[in-house]
């Protein structure tokens, strides 16, 4: 059935608005402004909750505007999603129009329109890929000490885990063990750690795969990337009554995560004399009666154990070298072993292939659309004595 002329007349302005230059400009400008806000304001997940709260209390006027608009989570806020949807609709309308116009165009105009059409198809692919990523990806982080085996199919093994809105419940069915971790150095200075992972699929043979910075492990449906590393001392704590309170590897925060260039963390467990702070000194020397680490390499590691009062002040400290013990507040702290831990980002994302295709198509479109203009200018300069034609 043909739509009635009245209905066509009703929708014609709407359709024209969808592909009009000014609607494109308005949507892109609004999207750009929202990006500026998102880039300038601290974002949830990018900074710690306490740092975000502090920033908000320091900037009450900005917060009064930004909070209701969701600008502290700008890139997942409703205005952002609406703008992305508007951008997609506008691009579909523009692409359709270009497709129609390109059929009638001839010569240079046809090339320009064709290039523009391909460019917009590429941009649509980018948006579609982003949507697939947001909707279906699985993004988790695990921390494993050398010798430890992690079952990636178990949710409780992840330090944090995010799923896309329509990602199904199944997690990657691999078991992952860290066989070893060794420092990678440049000019004698450690710049990273490379780990060897033992990867096992259910019912399949275990294979060893190296994992390092910029060297991800690609498995079927999942990519593992190196996220961080640190030290895990084996700590055994025995109470004055002889009860073993702790006997485990403690993954200390990395230099970046711990701040102040230290590998440290706090341990709280029933029976301990308050909060216990552990600080690893990888290469310890005693200078003027104080233990200091002279390098990040674990050549002479020692564990500084401090019992903290409620206000965070140190009640008593002790130093245990590798294989030795220290008495603090009557408790026996033994430093039995030192291993490294590796943080692995586990990511399943089929959207990236669509995004890469979008980049390739878009770049090709850009070249087809604009290269003739640049080439014409260069040729014009050569043939007319450096004249630049409009």
């Amino acid at each position: 059935m043909e739509p009635s002329p009245n209905i066509m007349r009703l929708f014609a302005p709407l359709v024209r608005a969808l592909y009009s230059t000014w609607s494109t400009v308005a949507v892109v400008a609004a999207f750009t402004l929202l990006c500026v806000a998102g880039a300038m304001l601290p974002q949830v997940g990018a900074v710690s909750d306490s740092a975000l709260d502090l920033w908000k209390s320091d900037h009450p006027v900005v917060t009064a505007v930004a909070e209701p608009l969701g600008l502290y989570e700008a890139f997942s806020s409703i205005p952002f999603m609406v703008l992305l949807a508007a951008l997609a609709v506008n691009m579909v309308a523009c692409t359709t129009r270009r497709a129609i116009l390109s059929r009638k165009a001839r010569g240079g105009a046809a090339v320009a329109l064709g290039g523009s059409l391909v460019l917009h198809v590429g941009l649509l692919a980018l948006l579609a890929g982003g949507a697939v990523t947001a909707g279906s990806s699985i993004d988790g982080r695990i921390v494993a000490t050398e010798g430890q085996v992690i079952d990636l199919s178990r949710e409780d093994q992840y330090l944090d885990l995010r799923r896309g809105v329509w990602a199904d419940g199944a997690l990657p069915g691999y078991a992952l063990g860290v066989e070893s971790s060794r420092p990678v150095s440049d000019g004698g200075v450690s710049t990273a750690v490379e780990s060897v992972l033992a990867v096992a699929e259910p019912g399949a043979e275990t294979v060893s795969r190296p994992l390092g910075v910029n060297r991800p492990v690609r498995l079927e449906g999942v990519v593992l990337t190196h996220a961080d590393w640190g030290f895990s001392p084996l700590l055994t704590v025995v109470s004055p009554a002889g009860e073993v309170l702790v006997d485990a590897y403690v993954a200390l925060l990395s230099v970046h995560g711990g701040g102040a260039g230290a590998y440290e963390d706090v341990v709280e467990a029933p029976g301990l004399p308050g909060t216990v702070r552990l600080r690893l000194l990888p290469d310890v020397r005693i200078q003027d009666g104080t233990a200091v680490s002279v390098s990040p390499e674990p050549r002479n590691p020692a564990l500084e154990i401090s019992v903290l009062a409620e206000d965070g002040t140190v009640v008593e400290s002790g130093l245990a070298f590798l294989g030795s013990e220290a008495e603090v507040q009557g408790f026996n702290f033994a430093f039995g072993d030192l291993r490294r831990w590796t943080a692995v980002r586990v990511r399943a994302d089929s959207g990236r292939f669509v995004v890469y295709a979008g980049f390739a198509i878009g770049l090709f479109g850009l070249l087809v659309r604009y290269a003739p203009a640049i080439w014409a200018a260069a040729r014009s300069r050569r043939s007319t004595g450096n004249e630049v034609s409009a």
Binding site: M40, A192, V223, L363, L367, N386, V388
Partner: protein, 273 residues
């Protein structure tokens, strides 16, 4: 920083400043000697810049893009290859140096005020995508400074300055059209920079896009130039309005690479890698 590097750096910066001043004087006083001085100084400056980047490469043992100093010295070199290439291919465009050199000198200034000690190349930078990402970023920068220069001179004339006509640059709208073509070239290079960065980020961080402030600002500067192209092509924004956007575009480029990392925490902290 070794003495040889320091010498080459300051010779580079000094010659670029001389080239800027000489080109400006050549535009104002129409003396060929100033124009020739400007060209010779910029060519010598590029040779010294090549030496500064090469010395760093040899002394550090890796491509000199490992920290802010190295990125600015190498980036200035890439950008100046574009600028010098254009003014050599089209001698009429030599006065564009007057607008193109200050942003490059500013980039060198940011570099020398950053830590300059030679350090190991971070493992994060040990990727084949690094060269593609950085080179295309600064090729785009080279095009954008030329676009900025042409647009700024066009606007200056519109506000009453008459130096351009006497300097021999293309007349009227042709100069603004030149700015447009430079924006187009820079836009293509910037697109390659963003795409290569995304592929690299996927290997490094496990995701091709993480909404990091520097990533977002690169997208913002790309969108600003996309708006410029749309307004110029479809909304008839030619001349002054278009030139204003071309000038503003470089501000966004500066913010994305040199500004944002001072303002907010970012994984693109070029001295933390």
């Amino acid at each position: 920083m070794r003495p040889i590097e320091a010498w080459l750096f300051w010779i580079t910066t000094g010659l670029y400043v001389v080239a800027f001043v000489a080109t400006l004087l050549g535009m104002v006083f129409q003396r060929p000697v100033w124009r020739t001085t400007g060209l010779v100084a910029v060519l010598a400056g590029l040779v010294a810049n090549t030496g500064a980047a090469a010395a760093r490469w040899v002394l550090a043992g890796h491509m000199p893009v490992g920290d802010r100093y190295e990125l600015n010295v190498s980036g200035s070199w890439v950008a100046m290859v574009v600028v010098v290439g254009v003014v050599l291919a089209a001698p009429r465009l030599r006065p564009l140096l007057v607008g193109a050199l200050p942003p490059v000198i500013l980039a060198l200034g940011i570099g020398i005020t950053s830590p300059t000690a030679i350090g190991p190349l971070s493992a994060a930078y040990d990727s084949g995508w690094l060269a593609v990402h950085v080179v295309f970023a600064f090729l785009a920068f080279g095009c954008f400074v030329l676009a900025f220069s042409a647009a700024a001179i066009y606007l200056a004339e519109g506000w009453g300055a008459t130096v351009r006509v006497r300097a021999g640059l293309p007349e009227g709208e042709a100069l603004e059209d030149l700015s447009y073509r430079m924006v187009v070239a820079g836009f293509i290079f910037e697109a390659v920079m963003i795409a290569s960065g995304a592929v690299w980020a996927n290997d490094l961080w496990g995701t091709y896009w993480s909404w990091d402030p520097v990533e977002v600002w690169s997208l913002i500067s790309f969108l600003v130039y996309a708006l410029y192209l749309h307004l110029r092509t479809f909304a008839g924004w030619r001349g002054r309005r278009s030139a204003v956007v071309a000038v503003l575009g470089l501000v966004f480029v500066f913010l994305s690479f040199w500004g944002v990392q001072w303002l907010v925490p970012t994984v693109h902290d070029f001295n933390q890698f």
